[in-house]
């Protein structure tokens, strides 16, 4: 091989790389950029767009009301980026936002994308508020810049485990998880809470996020005669699982987390979904303090709310609230104000603990009745 060829390859690569264009900085007005990162393509694009819209709604309101920081009039501008729910893309996007000089970031949507991105924000001192990442590991890393306005998996898991034992009266509990970061994390927390509440975990079984056949593990579970089966995972697995439970004659109750509390679950499981229980972090929209007003505003502009838009909306307000208190949009200055946040948002009262987690996050429990998810009750997680 010759060096010439190698040189040509490099030139070609540089040309390919040269197709992008440089982000433009806005002069003139005092413009402050706020980043938003979520999957805008891929299977979760509708959720990602929802986050973007929630953040944008808040931003437009703030701009309309007028924002003055340090005696200067400030206009906020949203920089929205697509992280494709992929960890590697998320770091690229995070770097991009940092380069563009954002003062803060709302995002990311998934825990898997939020965690690697949080290191880049931390390295650059950019505050980050995730509206929807629930993995404990996100704030457990100890970055000073990482916050979330959503109940985390530990909080949700402890509510679920407690609910199963004390409210549903289940003594013997079987736990299944799908070996994803979300499913396993939630199932572990449920297991802890069940034991703490005096319940017994009679079986711990596993599947994957691609399986559709659960007959073997369910048969094994049937032999242990549980009162309740908890599944940490998503609806495409939960639906065939509950069908196969019925087929095997397992009469235990079925409980899941927010991955199960979806319309698709009922659609896929059909009549077998009846009676299934599941939780979702946060309050149902109509029970949020500002829920109905938010819904009206949001739907007038963007159509139906998918899921996390109110949280993205609140996250933006929390960020700007800290800027106002610091009277500066300089991350180095207003970051110190974020931990002191005490904000009455649409989704509830927002305060952070030492790690940046939401204190006293709510978890709502639902049950399928007459082919629909009906609200059972809302529990405030104890800290």
């Amino acid at each position: 091989m010759t060096v010439h060829k190698l040189a040509w390859v490099m030139v070609a690569a540089a040309l390919v790389a040269g197709c992008g264009d440089k982000p433009q900085q806005d002069g003139g007005k005092q413009t402050v950029l706020i980043g938003q990162a979520s999957p805008l393509t891929g299977p979760q694009a509708h959720l990602g767009k929802d986050n973007e819209n929630g953040a944008r709604l808040a931003l437009d309101e703030i701009n309309a009301a007028g924002l003055t920081l340090g005696g200067k009039k400030v206009v906020l501008e949203l920089k929205s980026e697509d992280d494709a729910a992929d960890p590697k893309t998320a770091t690229t996007v995070a770097q991009k936002l940092v380069d563009e000089g954002v003062a803060g970031v709302i995002g990311h949507l998934n825990s898997g994308a939020t965690i690697p991105a949080s290191r880049i924000y931390s390295d650059n001192g950019i505050p980050q508020i995730s509206p929807s990442a629930t993995a404990v590991a996100y704030t457990a890393a100890g970055y000073k810049t990482a916050f979330r306005v959503m109940t985390n998996d530990a909080q949700q898991g402890s509510v679920l485990g407690n609910f199963a034992v004390t409210k549903l009266g289940a003594k013997r509990i079987a736990i299944i998880d799908d070996r994803t970061a979300y499913g396993q994390g939630l199932a572990d927390e449920v297991e802890k809470a069940v034991k703490a509440a005096g319940g017994e975990v009679v079986a711990r079984e596993y599947t994957s996020d691609r399986s559709t056949d659960f007959m073997a593990i369910l048969t094994s579970i049937k032999g242990k005669a549980p009162d309740l089966v908890f599944f940490g995972g998503m609806d495409p697995q939960a639906a065939p699982m509950i069908k196969q439970m019925k087929q095997l004659g397992i009469h235990a109750k079925f409980l899941g987390g927010d991955g199960v509390q979806t319309p698709a679950f009922i659609q896929l499981a059909g009549g077998d979904a009846e009676g299934a229980l599941a939780s979702n972090p946060g309050l149902p929209l109509d029970a949020m303090p500002g829920g109905s007003a938010f819904k009206a505003k949001f739907e007038a502009k963007y159509g139906q709310i998918q899921n996390y838009a109110p949280y993205a909306y609140d996250a933006m307000h929390v960020l700007v609230d800290a800027m106002k208190r610091a009277d500066s949009s300089d991350p180095a200055k207003y970051l110190a104000e974020l931990p002191k946040t005490d904000y009455q948002g649409v989704t509830g009262h927002i305060r952070f603990d030492a790690k940046g987690d939401l204190t006293g996050g709510a978890v709502t429990l639902y049950q399928v009745k007459d082919g629909k998810w009906q609200t059972l009750e809302t529990v405030q997680s104890g800290k």
Partner: protein
Amino acid sequence: MKRTPPRWLAFSLLALGLALLPFLVDAGMGRSWVRLLDLALLYVILALGLNIVVGYAGLLDLGYVAFYALGAYVYAWLASPHFGLHLPFWAVLPLGAALAALFGVLLGAPTLRLRGDYLAIVTLGFGEIIRIFMNNLNAPVNITNGPQGINLIDPVRLGSFSLNQPHRLFGVTFTGIHLTYYLFLLFTLMVIFISMRLEDSRIGRAWVAIREDEIAAAATGINTRNLKLLAFAMGATFGGLAGGLFASFQGFISPESFNLMESIMILCMIVLGGMGHIPGVIFGAVVLTLLPEALRYTGDWQRDLFGHVYVDPADLRMLLFGVALVAVMLYRPAGLLPSTRRRREFADAKG
């Protein structure tokens, strides 16, 4: 040959270009592209590693990502709060590469008798087994932290000189990703050098002989067993090295980063560029790493044109990969930048 500039000139131009590349890219396209450049170098290392196994020795390995994963996990174990160990990178990287090499031999040894397609399926199984173990070894003893992955992995650090902080050298500010670029470039050049030397060596020619006709190769006195094992070990070493670099670069690893799609993606790189041909493989790796970023714009165009994204850029990418794999095999079986020898072979096979 008369017209080509002297070798030293090409060399120094190339060196200058490579040294300035991150600054040019940074100035022209933004820093996130420098990060992509780092990633592209990582994939060049990976692709060159797989190229030894598939391109030179002709052993179709669909579980290559397992070695990448091993390297990454070794780095994470020895340089993160997970076990509380913080060994320096120059100690951890070789260990990861060595462990990967060991597993390469472990995988190679029982599969020596297997032919192409059987080998493909066994290596695929091996890759999945490694991933499943990584995903589940959080209990009863927490070795890998399971699906949660390992976070807060140390960046590459020499004394107090850490690669995730900006440094001022000779009046120029080098950010972490710029410095990472030079580190990765160093390793990439090393891997390219080794690959070049191997290609022209007795070993390299023996691999080609095995690839073309194993029985004939054995008959001419080539020790096919040892050479196949060596190919697996060499490929795995590069994979392990890339894994360690990836772990330090990303700071967080979890088993979902090491799935079968990743193996297939690396395979695509070498097939597309030209199996067994170093410039081709480099070209394939760089193009396929940057492609998703370039395709990102198609999403914006669609949104501007129709106000709606009809075809997700991410899906478009996979579809393009599929079409490219078939089209390249049908029309340019030796790749987009083929080696002359390879082109001849495929031409012979067709005739």
